[in-house]
């Protein structure tokens, strides 16, 4: 069976007159139907660019995209703008970090849901209105009927994000892309939205790709986690295993640097230095300049993905390939 998402050697460059940024430098992964993948990374790692490539949403005039990207059987790299527009919103849809700016301020919530449904389906205005109401109830917006006529600025942050989710789900997509959808929300609201997304994913049987910089969010929602650095997946694996025992030194550093309940009184581990400038594609391991275990072989070539146990992989020469177990 074909996976829901099939990505091979995805490369994205942003080319303008005075500079080129190599944002994504060869990403490979598959996503099964009903699976949730978290792409974890810091700013500039290429995680959002990768996500946007899955519906070719990066700025068209600047973006050079190569490789294979197939979503639900559609080839996204070569397809025309027009058939791409038919795929967006119906097969794959997206929710964003800032629900305030991601919704059109001068149209009502109801209108923004209706126009999405009517773009992809032949349906009367009344039926679209009824579907919009059901969707607001699905995302647990209280007094949904009244909110259909509300403008985005009249809703609280949590309700706005729920409305955004309702729009994204309005045509029952097979794949939902989420770009840090809880980062801008308050703590007590963030957990509500996370749990809602988890429930909707299960009820509707969607695949979800969730971009975040927050390990805790990944722990709550992911089946699998991919850690991104300098435009590559440097480690990938099931969420529990990866969080308990990361293989790649960068993933280890990121976990060590994350402040959580158990670290009070201890000094935080930090990763020295800063991420590389992506004006050129790094020739060796992009993390080598900051890595405590660096050796000459790291700089010779980009480390291939090595898999010590089935289902896990890391791009680090210190990781054994096809070993029986690392825990032993």
């Amino acid at each position: 069976m074909e996976p829901l998402v099939h990505v091979r050697d995805l490369k994205v460059r942003f080319v303008s007159r005075d500079s080129t940024v190599h944002a994504v430098n060869g990403v490979d992964f598959d996503l099964a139907p009903r699976e949730t993948l978290c792409i974890l990374g810091e700013s500039g790692s290429g995680k959002s660019v990768t996500l946007r490539s899955l519906m070719r949403l990066n700025p068209p005039r600047l973006t050079k995209m190569t490789g294979t990207v197939r979503v639900g059987g559609h080839d996204l790299v070569t397809t025309s703008e027009r058939s791409l527009a038919d795929i967006r919103g119906s097969v794959v849809s997206m929710i964003f970090q800032e629900p305030m700016t991601a919704l059109d301020p001068v149209f009502t919530i109801g209108m923004q849901i209706r126009e999405t449904i009517r773009r992809h389906e032949t349906i009367s205005r009344e039926d679209a209105e009824r579907r919009a109401l059901e969707l607001l109830e699905l995302v647990q917006i209280p007094s949904a009927k009244r909110r259909l006529a509300a403008y985005p600025h009249e809703l609280s942050g949590g309700l706005r994000q729920r409305a955004m989710i309702a729009i994204a789900l309005s045509c029952r997509p097979k794949l939902l892309l989420a770009d840090e959808p809880t980062t801008a929300l308050d703590a007590t609201v963030q957990i509500q939205i996370l749990l809602l997304l988890r429930k909707l994913q299960q009820d509707m049987g969607m695949g979800v790709i969730f971009v975040t910089h927050d390990l805790g969010v990944a722990a709550e929602i992911a089946d699998r986690v991919a850690v991104m650095y300098a435009g590559r997946f440097i480690e990938e694996g099931p969420v529990s295993a990866l969080m308990r025992d990361p293989l790649h030194p960068y993933a280890q550093g990121l976990l060590g640097a994350t402040v959580h309940g158990g670290v009070r009184g201890k000094r935080l581990t930090t990763i020295p230095g800063a991420p590389p400038n992506l004006a050129q594609v790094p020739t060796g391991c992009a993390f080598a300049p900051r890595c405590a275990y660096v050796e000459p072989a790291c700089l010779a070539a980009v480390p291939a993905a090595r898999s010590p146990i089935p289902g896990r992989a890391a791009r680090c020469i210190r990781v054994p390939d096809h070993a029986v177990s690392t825990a032993a």
Partner: protein, 353 residues
């Protein structure tokens, strides 16, 4: 360790006044209401009770963490303390001396209390080099240009940046983490005693956040500082703070030692806030959100206890009576009728007969 002998003669930390037992900062009944106007004649139709009658101490040498969600008034509180806003009522007392009105002048006060903001970029003058930004305030306070620059270089070194490399640069040439280090250096330039850190690491990546938190802990010992650390990130607050103050809709919900609160919150809001943190363990995920809905709007807040509209334990009495801060344990206060003996709430302790 960096030796600061050259300039300590020129600008040194002002001496302790009231001794270690006297709080460095005392906030008494601080209130800030913003009126809302509308209608035909622009009459007042409501009041945003951004901060409503809050009182607390910041003790010498401690880090007091201030947490809360949007609209709880934590940013307004920090601006009131910095005297960037005029309070509706209440007072700010610094080491026993009232600020303004015949007490400490604002200039004397601001020398001793400095602030670091969340947005590292907009809080630096884009037309000044890093070195000039740090040397600016001492210049205003009468330090000679050469000493101020020497001092700026020492501070750059103290925050982990090479003065020769970073001194001549402009803010837009730096990363977010580097800019935040500059902001910290600038705040330290006047040798303050109290630093107000308003979401200082919220805009930073995790690996950089850890670097800046480590730096803040080092500087605190090195410069003999007291911190008021404001953040929405409960994990960060737990990591840096000695005591924690939780705010909800302009009022203090709970205050106490960090371990006491994180191990057993007395206020239902604090408990819910702590339970809202992602679990960090994929095998023990959260199943139910601890609270429903968003924090209400601080315009015309609920009567009585402001949390009662979202509280699982709310009873009729909660709508009538605004709960005062009541002792919940050693050095631990909570504004909840379930803590106040004889309050009329069914779960309140009985009054001793």
């Amino acid at each position: 360790m960096i030796v600061l002998t050259q300039t300590t003669e020129i600008l040194r930390q002002l001496p302790d006044v009231g001794g270690p037992a006297q709080p460095l900062l005392t906030i008494r009944g601080l209130t800030k209401h913003f009126p809302l106007r509308s209608g035909l004649l622009g009459r007042s139709t409501g009041v945003v009770q951004a901060v409503d009658d809050i009182s607390f101490d910041v003790r010498k040498g401690e880090t007091l963490g201030l947490v809360g969600e949007s609209g709880c008034g934590k940013s307004t509180t920090s601006r009131l303390i910095m005297a960037l806003l005029e309070p509706t009522s209440g007072e700010v007392i610094f080491d026993g001396q009232a600020v303004g009105y015949g007490g400490l002048t604002l200039k004397e006060y601001r020398r001793q209390v400095q602030m670091v903001f969340q947005d590292s970029y907009s809080s630096l003058n884009p037309r000044l080099t890093v070195r000039d930004s740090i040397a600016f305030a001492p210049g205003v306070h009468g330090v000679a240009r050469r000493s101020a620059v020497t001092r700026a270089d020492e501070l750059l070194e103290a925050v982990g940046l090479d003065p020769a490399q970073f001194g001549p640069r402009y803010p837009h040439e730096l990363s977010g983490g580097q800019r935040q280090r500059i902001n910290i250096a600038r705040a330290l330039a006047l040798q303050p005693r109290l630093l107000i850190l308003d979401e200082p690491v919220s805009a930073l990546d995790k690996s950089v956040e850890a670097q800046v938190l480590n730096l803040l802990l080092d500087l605190k010992d090195q410069f003999g500082l007291t911190y008021l650390f404001i953040s929405h990130d409960l994990n960060v607050v737990q990591y840096v703070s000695d005591r924690v103050l939780v705010m909800y809709l302009g009022r203090v919900a709970e205050i106490g030692p960090v371990d006491t609160i994180y191990n057993g919150a007395a206020h239902p809001y604090t408990a819910a806030l702590l339970d809202s943190r992602p679990s960090m363990d994929p095998d023990r995920r959260r199943l139910e959100p601890p609270l429903q809905g968003d924090p209400p709007n601080p315009v015309n807040p609920p009567s009585g206890c402001r949390f009662r509209t979202r509280c699982l334990h709310a009873e009729a009495v909660c709508a009538d009576k605004a709960p005062p801060l009541a002792p919940a344990g050693p050095e631990h206060l909570a504004a909840c009728l379930m803590v106040l003996p004889g309050s009329g709430h069914s779960q309140a302790p009985k009054l001793a007969a």
